[in-house]
Amino acid sequence: MSGLAGSLAGVPGPEDLIRARGLTKRFGEFTAVDGIDFDLRRGEAFGFLGPNGAGKSSTMRMIGCVSPPTGGELTILGLDPVADGPRIRARLGVVPQEDTLDVELTVRENLLIYGRYFGLPRDVISERTARLLDFVQLTERGDDQVEPLSGGLKRRLTIARSLINEPEILLLDEPTTGLDPQARHVVWDRLFRLKQQGVTLVLTTHYMDEAEQLCDRLVVLDGGKIAAGGSPRELIERYSTAEVLELRFDPGEHEQAAEKLADVRAERTEVLADRILLYIPNGDVALSAVRNLGLEPLTSLVRRSTLEDIFLRLTGRRLED
């Protein structure tokens, strides 16, 4: 952990918005978050990546000051989340995993209610509402009831709602889970713009592509512990190779082929149930080496390493498991 602490939990500076040391959350006997350290710097996009049950949401709820930590230290915006919850939350935006919109009200009323929760005057709310609905491309639906909106539109409204208080930190818990690919890309695009505007993002995800698209730095959580951390590029350099060769063989030949592939001298070989992954600097070179061994894969794919490969390397499991 010492190397990790160096990159993720440095000396706290004035730009550290969140600082966690040994942060722990237990529910009875179960430890959801098991002593994690991290710092969040102003203006960055920071990700918690991990499978379901890794402790992502518990961590987010502690940062959102709606879940008192069981142990360790947590400082948010220089304040104590237990004593100063309201003052901290006034400066946070939260996009929860499940939509918590008031579906009986209209799009605009949802923003009005939420703005009032922050004590904003009506004219400020209506000015921001116009801007935010424009930002999430919901202006035309402003007076519609929320209930019949699609999942993607509801997500965008939730994002607009989370921005009503112009937060310094935006917390997003699995912002695109359950959305279709097109809706996901719209959300990513909006989040990317927010990042460009200088909003600090903290997000959890179990999508590798999401983490790669959005995060400057991330930690891989597994079983409540930080398995690794750094920028996506650093993680790939440290834990994987530039390229990956994915091979699929006839189920009957799968095992045999895996044994023979040792001769390719890949840096690492992962034998999955349906595929074999070879971690190598150059995929095309490796593929001809495979063919020279007399192996004929049904399909072959040369691709760049992704965070998925790192997760596999670190935990021995795939993210969807």
Partner: protein, 279 residues
């Protein structure tokens, strides 16, 4: 938690004062949420608020009352059945409003719509949500009880100008139900227990707490049970004010009982709200 430098005494006082001021302001923010929400449904609820007293006062007060009155009014305290019944129905209507507002809307907020989870992500705390909703229930009680009083007056079922004081008393009766029930409702995950409350709580209280006949008509063993129920205290208070027979001592005892129940509900609710929403 994060170790903090001990705050200077005046800073602590300032923080305590700020927390106190924000407690009220935050509850009002949640109260305004409920008002906004109510704008959608008020029409339907007003119909039942008006129809309920008209139906009961008309059918039982006037209709059944003409039969009852033939047997004399000695046991009713020398007044007609309508005059006897109306303040009891007022207290019962307050109970019904209090229970109705503190059950399904609470479970909907925490479980079905999850709007409470959205609200606690803002500066509001769980207790602010609780207090804000109680403020809204107070407004609903004021509306329904005022409409009921108006109907009573229209039926000529009022004997004393003191009946105006029955408005806050009836509201307190409703609150004595709402606060404890809301404190319990926030802990639930299903609405099945609500049906039990209605069937085995509200309806027996409605029938046997002195609304329709004096509790002295109950068998001796059952009378203490009636005295323990909050509705009986509300009925006795409203009736004494409506008939102009209230005594200060008796009033104080009944009001204290209802106030104690309300405060107990608020104290417990502050804890149950926090436990449910800060996991």
């Amino acid at each position: 938690m994060a170790p903090q430098a001990p705050a200077a005494p005046h800073a602590q006082v300032a923080r305590a004062a700020a927390v106190h001021a924000s407690r009220w302001a935050f509850a009002v923010r949640e109260f305004r949420f409920w008002l906004t929400n109510y704008r959608r449904t008020w029409r339907g609820s007003i119909y039942s608020s008006v129809l309920n007293p008209l139906l009961y006062l008309g059918s039982i007060g006037v209709g059944l009352g003409t039969l009852v009155n033939k047997h004399g009014d000695a046991r009713l305290g020398g007044v007609s059945y309508l005059v006897f019944l109306a303040p009891g129905l007022l207290a019962a209507a307050a109970m019904e409003t209090g229970i109705g507002e503190s059950t399904y809307p609470v479970l909907a907020s925490v479980k079905w719509l999850k709007t409470y989870h959205a609200a606690v992500a803002s500066p509001l705390r769980p207790s602010d949500l609780f207090h804000g909703h109680l403020l809204f229930i107070i407004v609903r009680l004021a509306m329904n009880c005022a409409i009921f009083l108006g109907a009573m007056a229209a039926f000529g079922a009022v004997r004393s100008p003191w009946v105006l004081a029955a408005l806050p008393v009836a509201m307190l009766t409703g609150l004595a139900f709402a606060a404890p029930i809301e404190a319990w409702a926030i802990t639930l995950n299903k609405d099945t227990s609500f049906a039990m409350i209605f069937r085995f709580g509200m309806i027996p209280l409605f029938l046997f707490s002195g609304t329709f006949f004096p509790v002295s008509q109950l068998p001796g063993w059952a009378q203490p049970i009636a005295y323990a129920t909050p509705l009986w205290h509300g009925v006795v208070l409203c009736r004494a004010l409506s008939l102009g027979t209230a005594s200060i001592g008796g009033m104080l005892a009944h009001v204290s009982y209802l106030t104690a129940l309300t405060i107990a509900g608020i104290i417990v609710g502050n804890r149950t709200y926090r436990r449910r929403l800060y996991v």
